[in-house]
């Protein structure tokens, strides 16, 4: 080893020793734990927004202060409108999601497990998928009227595809080597599905259910914006018609909260089902 190299090594050692000896992250006078870093920007934006609104620099009918939006939600809750509209929206999402995810499960399982079913159904379903789902709205309205049926159908359509695609691919990709284990123990087709295929496909299925639920929320907004007399989406339209920006913003926040909460619930269910398995 040359002396130059030796020196370089020594310097290296010295350098690492020095940096590890120092307490980490003591850059500024204020110490902010990492988990709060993400809060800095939204909190600052809210504060600046509130400040500008109070100084009269933002027209209140255009962008009301955060506190005004908060008060609007509170007032809606006290008046009972919030529960009524939220309840209707949630019911629509639940109905649509159950129908869509149910159909997605049925078709996904079928096309994943039976090659014949895949060859028969998958091309058509893929073709349908390439139509942006919102494009069906006029037809649904024409066929099913502006009542609940058309809304729920649209939501179900949104929830269907992610569930269908994920389950179909997951079932198709279940390791044939595991299926051979089932064959060794002479499992019937039904046992094969229940004891091997479904558990093996479960993680991807749950991913599909989660994105299906996300799309269900997206489509309930679309459905309610396009013609409803109730629901949070209707609140939004109403806010727009009557020029109350605070109501629109309140509705946006409600959608965000409901979407997030249901996603958490789905994740929690998924975690329970998956148990301790490695992922």
């Amino acid at each position: 080893m040359s002396t130059a190299e030796q020196n370089r090594r020594l310097m290296w050692k010295g350098a690492t020793a020095e940096t590890t000896a120092k307490p980490p992250d003591k850059i500024g006078p204020v110490l902010i734990p990492d988990q709060f870093l993400g809060w800095i920007i939204p909190v600052s934006v809210l504060l600046v927004w509130e400040l500008f609104a109070r100084l009269g620099m933002l027209p209140p009918n255009w962008l009301p202060a955060p506190t005004v939006v908060g008060r609007t939600i509170y007032q809606l809750a006290v008046a009972g409108d919030l529960w009524k509209h939220a309840g209707i929206t949630i019911a629509r999402v639940a109905m649509g999601f159950l129908l869509g995810a149910g159909a997605g499960t049925l078709f996904g399982g079928l096309t994943g497990y039976l090659p014949v079913a895949r060859k028969l159904l998958d091309p058509s379903l893929q073709a349908l998928r390439s139509v942006p789902s919102i494009a069906w709205v006029p037809l649904f309205l024409l066929w099913l009227g502006i009542q609940e049926t058309s809304k729920i159908t649209l939501i179900a359509l949104g929830a269907f595809f992610p569930v269908y695609l994920n389950l179909s691919v997951a079932v198709r990709h279940v390791d044939p080597k595991l299926l051979e284990v089932g064959k060794l123990y002479r499992l019937s087709s039904f046992q094969m599905v229940r004891r091997l295929v479904l558990p093996a496909a479960l993680p991807e299925y749950i991913v599909g259910l989660r994105s299906g639920l996300g799309l269900a929320w997206m489509f309930v907004v679309a459905a309610e914006l396009l013609g409803a007399s109730s629901g949070i989406g209707y609140l939004m339209v109403d806010g727009e018609m009557t020029g109350r920006a605070a109501v629109i913003l309140a509705s946006v926040i409600l959608f965000a909260v409901f979407g997030k909460v249901t996603d958490w619930m789905m994740t929690a269910i998924g975690r329970r089902l998956l148990g301790h398995r490695a992922r």
Binding site: K177, Y185, R195, A200, A278
Partner: protein
């Protein structure tokens, strides 16, 4: 265990031919295989890649059913898979969502739960994993996973245990320990064992008889008895001599496929 743990069985294999359909016509994987295995015997099948040794094992297991010939277990023809043959693959093939306990009990669904638990516990301690009964496969090392796979294969109380390069993916030291383990298990359970391997030393260390296969088409080139006392010493002169004779047989002209035969 009681007397029924002495489950021995003669295996008789008569395969005229076994071909796989390929894109360029059919490929003859096995031809004229005649082999009889005594009850309680430990037989190792050695051969290079593509000599059909795995296909042979899969035929005995009942996983390959399209072939000309027949396999007999105690004189009864074998059709399809069955619990009378336990199989261990090169990969452990454990189910990631089940604990070691439930993986071992996978084929015992028909038993009453008490009996099932008792059997599982028997086999889990046979493979020395009592402390890991409720661990999931991802929490186990490669050697431990393979032990669970062996316990799963044994739990169905097979008359024949079929192992397809079971230790090939383990590191050298673990492999040697597993070889001792499989002998100990074989001596405890007294099942007939057929083990496929490409490791000559492994075959000589384990087997009562070594079946040497040659490729294109896969045929049995020779069957060498290994008349060495157990436990065997890998460095013993006699051991080395037997190893060499298997080696010579395996590398004799025509026994290994020419390199050009493989599609790299």
């Amino acid at each position: 265990m009681d007397s029924d743990s002495f489950r021995k069985s003669t295996v008789e294999i008569r395969i005229a031919r076994k071909a796989f359909a390929g894109s360029k016509g059919s490929l003859l994987a096995l031809k004229d295989i005649l082999l009889a295995i005594d009850p309680g015997e430990f037989v190792c099948v050695v051969g290079g890649s593509g000599c059909g040794k795995t296909t042979l094992l899969r035929i005995i297991a009942g996983l390959e059913t399209e072939y000309e010939g027949a396999v007999f277990l105690d004189g009864k023809q074998v059709i399809g898979t069955g619990l009378d043959r336990g199989v261990v693959f090169q990969e452990h093939r454990l189910l990631s969502w089940l604990t070691a306990h439930d993986n071992i009990g996978f084929g015992l669904a028909g038993l009453p739960s008490e009996e099932r638990s008792r059997d599982i516990r028997h086999y889990i301690s046979l493979v020395g994993l009592d402390k890991f009964e409720y661990e999931y496969p991802h929490q186990l090392s490669g050697g431990m996973s393979q032990r669970v796979a062996i316990a799963r294969a044994l739990a169905g109380r097979p008359e024949v245990l079929l192992l397809d390069e079971p230790f090939a993916s383990l590191d050298a030291l673990t492999r040697m320990r597993m070889q001792q383990e499989i002998l100990r298990i074989w001596e405890a359970e007294r099942t007939t064992v057929v083990l496929v391997t490409h490791d000559i030393e492994e075959a000589v260390y384990l087997a009562d008889r070594v079946v040497i296969m040659s490729p294109q088409p896969g045929t049995i080139r020779n069957v060498l008895p290994v008349c060495l006392p157990r436990p065997r010493d890998r460095t013993d002169r006699e051991f080395v001599r037997v190893r060499k004779s298997v080696h010579d047989e395996l590398f004799a002209p025509g026994c290994m496929a020419p390199l050009a035969a493989y599609n790299f």
